[in-house]
Amino acid sequence: MTMTTTIAPEKASRPMRIGTLIQKYSTLAVLIILFLAFAVGTDRFFTGTNLVNILQQISMLTIVAVGLTFGFAAKEMDLSVGYVVGLAGLLAPLLMVAGVPIPLSIVGALVAGLGVGLINSALVVGVGVPSLIATLAAGSILWGINFMISGGRAIYGGIPADYLAVGQGKVLGILPYPALIMLVIVGSSWFVMERTTFGRYLYAVGGNARAAELSGIKVRSYRVYGLALSSLFAAISGIILSARLGSGQPNGGETYLLDGLAAVFIGMTMLRPGTATVMGTFFGALLIGIMNNGLNLVGMDTYVQSIVKGIIIVIAVSVVSRTTKLKLL
């Protein structure tokens, strides 16, 4: 719809509007400030290679976080994603080492991820266990399974080079495949969430399940979709991880849970405050990526990075909680 924009008359509630404006864009401002600070502060930050590098570094995190966003939209939290990353990242190499063709191995890993999501949703939607608890337990079980199937060792040797290209190759020698996959996933997820009835219904279920039900929306199904997609995306991320590392690690994906949640929370402060959106999550992951990358270049220790990250999460969630009713359970 193209129409000439008319300037809305001044409203009495103008100060509040400025408040929401600040809230909406403060995260973006932090992102830009960080970016500029690193660009000015170190000469190795603002270079083509490093920027591509950042995209590459955040690709797996972003995919996990976008998966979490589907769950969040339906008000379900998935704490098992980190271990699903690990599971898929082990299964694909294991299958290939056992002689299964590459495409089938990838499908196998994805199916396993999806399976975890379905088991989670059977517990949450079928039995009525809160998702926070069901997925926490699932994570613990998966952690054990990951060590069991790998014997506690990394899986390497005998992984086909074509598979490794998924994680290490570049399109036209510039854009790494993981970054490309991430951009495609972010783009298509954005479209599904913002431009299809599927996304609308998912948000409706998270926004007010009773109203959604009385509007004829299949509430239970959408809760299942949210949790299933969250696991599926974690599995995609796990496959990229193992291809990039050239091995399957039994504890490979553990950091993605916390960083993924952080990306979602940071994203919830912008665009539609209080709501998890795909673009918000992407910016959240970008913020974390830029911060990690920049702090690395400045030479800051990883444990300090962890502290800084924690502080940023607290600030982000505080901003959201003050103005909206952030309910996660």
């Binding site: 719809m1 809305a8 409203k11 431009r195 299809t196 009835t197 599927f198 609308r200 409706a204 926004g207 007010n208 009773r210 109203a211 959604a212 039900e213 009385l214 509007s215 004829g216 929306i217 299949k218 539609r272 209080g274 709501t275 909206t324």
Partner: protein, 511 residues
């Protein structure tokens, strides 16, 4: 000691909840407060217990003016509330609940369990010497009536002068009510000033020494009931009869114009022996183009019945045919697909998503109609255009379609709730069920919503309206079914409509 409320007024944004209400609560007496939903009982209780501050008016105790800034201040001044919703910690014992927050300690840190038990027993013995309550058992193992007694004892722990009981028997099974009534009498006999809020009118008549009747935020009557001479009929009359309250929107008695229905109008709803946990409907047929009003006192089952027409799973037995097809225990989704729509009460809880815009709320039930199949790609342009059309058609006052729904007034929110079922689906729905269609809606929008209801019927839908506003029912309905004690009790044709007839039907007085 008595507490006197003088000219208490409470203005909420958009509604006047209490309008110059004066009440005197005296020690040693049980003061009943009755009124229909929205009469102001809850606001009154909140003001008495310090949860809400009045906009105007004064409270005084023993001749001294008092102000309760918060519930703690009310308790400190000797006013305790036993709220309707259970406030007990289920896994603690009765005694522990009674002393919760005031536990006697030993060695400064440890709860003195023996002393807790002793204090609780002493309190129980002081007030209810003839009643044995297991104070040493976890409260969730006790019968509901005992739980209520423990809640009362907990309120008595702060040694109040005034005790407010908000719907104390609402959650009790019939058998357990009797014992609680005895205890309430014992309290007032011992000198306590008791305020009793209840919608069980016979209970109020049996227990109370005086009764205040509220209607639309005003005190319409104060009755002395020392000899229990007040009748249920008298109370219902006062609660419902807006004519007597000087309301200019009086229902014209008799001789109402009847809308003519086509003789061959399709039967949309056909019910036989339809019953659920709290309603029973022997039989009802609603034709296309007809508006049936459902009336009854709070809790008499008419709302539950109306809801079950859209959510058949709420029923446990009986037969329901929708457009000649047996629906069995169909889901909401199936009912929607067959052509049934519900405009629920408590719209922000049941119909709206507060974070969403007018457009998003309006398209919630019909967005698939304006989307590209098979993937359901939302066609933003069509969605906006359809929203604009409905905003204009239903005269919804909003600065734009992108305004958040919470910024709209009650009446405009309600219009959005109706528009939801017309979004790209005009004429598709053959049954509209309205629950309290003008709850929290101002007078002007009220009339528009009534016109909307009538226009739905005129365009061929069957309409069912359950409302506690009798004037509203009289304006829109072609005929009325009155519910009593969970059952359909009377049918009234439009030509017989009058306030007296409605109230007789609700109260169960045959003419």
């Amino acid at each position: 000691m008595s507490i006197v409320l003088e000219n208490i007024t409470k203005q909420w944004p958009g509604t006047l909840a209490l309008d110059g209400v004066s009440i005197e609560i005296v020690e040693g007496r049980v003061h009943g407060i009755v009124g229909e939903n929205g009469a102001g009982k809850t606001t009154l209780v909140s003001i008495l217990s310090g949860a809400v501050q009045p906009t105007a008016g004064t409270l005084s105790m023993a001749g001294q003016p008092v102000a309760f800034e918060n519930p703690a201040a009310a308790v400190a001044n000797g006013v305790s509330l036993v709220s309707q919703e259970g406030s007990l910690v289920p896994h603690l014992t009765g005694a522990e609940n009674i002393c919760l927050g005031f536990e006697p300690v030993k060695s400064r840190f440890f709860i003195n369990r023996r002393e807790v038990q002793r204090q609780a027993e002493e309190l129980a013995k002081q007030w209810f010497p003839d009643t044995a309550i297991a104070l040493n058992r976890k409260v969730d193992e006790l019968p509901y009536a005992d739980q209520k007694v423990i809640e009362i004892l907990r309120a008595l722990h702060s040694r109040p002068k005034v005790l407010i009981l908000d719907e104390p028997t609402a959650t009790l099974p019939a058998k357990e009510k009797q014992s609680l009534w005895t205890l309430i009498r014992q309290l007032s006999d011992a000198g306590m000033a008791v305020v009793l809020i209840s919608h069980f009118l016979q209970e109020v008549i049996d227990l109370c020494d005086e009764i205040t009747v509220l209607q639309d935020g005003r005190k319409v009557s104060h009755l002395s009931n020392a000899g229990h001479e007040v009748t249920e009929r008298q109370l219902i009359d006062l609660m419902l009869n807006r004519g007597q309250a000087g309301n200019q929107h009086r229902l014209p008695d008799g001789a109402l114009t009847e809308r003519t229905l086509a003789a061959d109008a399709e039967i949309v709803v056909d019910i036989e022996g339809w019953q659920g946990e709290r309603f029973h409907m022997d039989g009802l047929k609603v034709r296309s183009g007809e508006i049936v009003g459902l009336i009854g006192l709070t809790g008499s089952g008419h709302f539950e019945f109306a809801q079950s027409l859209f959510e058949p799973r709420l029923a446990t037995a009986g037969r329901y045919r929708f457009k000649s097809k047996d629906v069995g225990r169909a889901s909401v989704r199936d009912m929607k697909r067959c052509g049934a729509a519900l405009i629920p009460d408590h719209r922000m809880i049941n119909a709206m998503i507060g974070d969403w815009t007018v457009r998003e709320n309006m398209s919630m039930a019909g967005i698939q109609e304006t989307s590209l199949k098979p993937f359901g790609i939302v066609q933003t342009g069509r969605e906006r255009a359809e929203t604009q059309r409905l905003i204009k058609r239903l005269n919804i006052k909003t600065s734009s379609a992108e305004t958040k729904i919470v910024e709209l007034s009650g009446g405009n929110k309600q219009k959005v709730s109706v528009a939801k079922w017309q979004f790209a689906s005009e004429g598709r729905y053959k049954l509209f069920v309205f629950l309290e269609p003008t709850e929290g809606v101002d007078v002007g929008a009220k009339r528009e919503i009534h016109e909307l209801i009538v226009s739905l019927a005129e365009r061929g839908a069957a309409v069912i309206v359950a409302s506690s506003d009798l004037l509203e029912i009289a304006h829109v309905a072609d005929r009325v079914v009155a519910f009593r004690n969970g059952r359909d009790a009377d049918q009234i044709a439009r030509r017989d409509f009058s306030e007296a007839v409605f109230i007789n039907a609700i109260a169960g007085v045959t003419q």
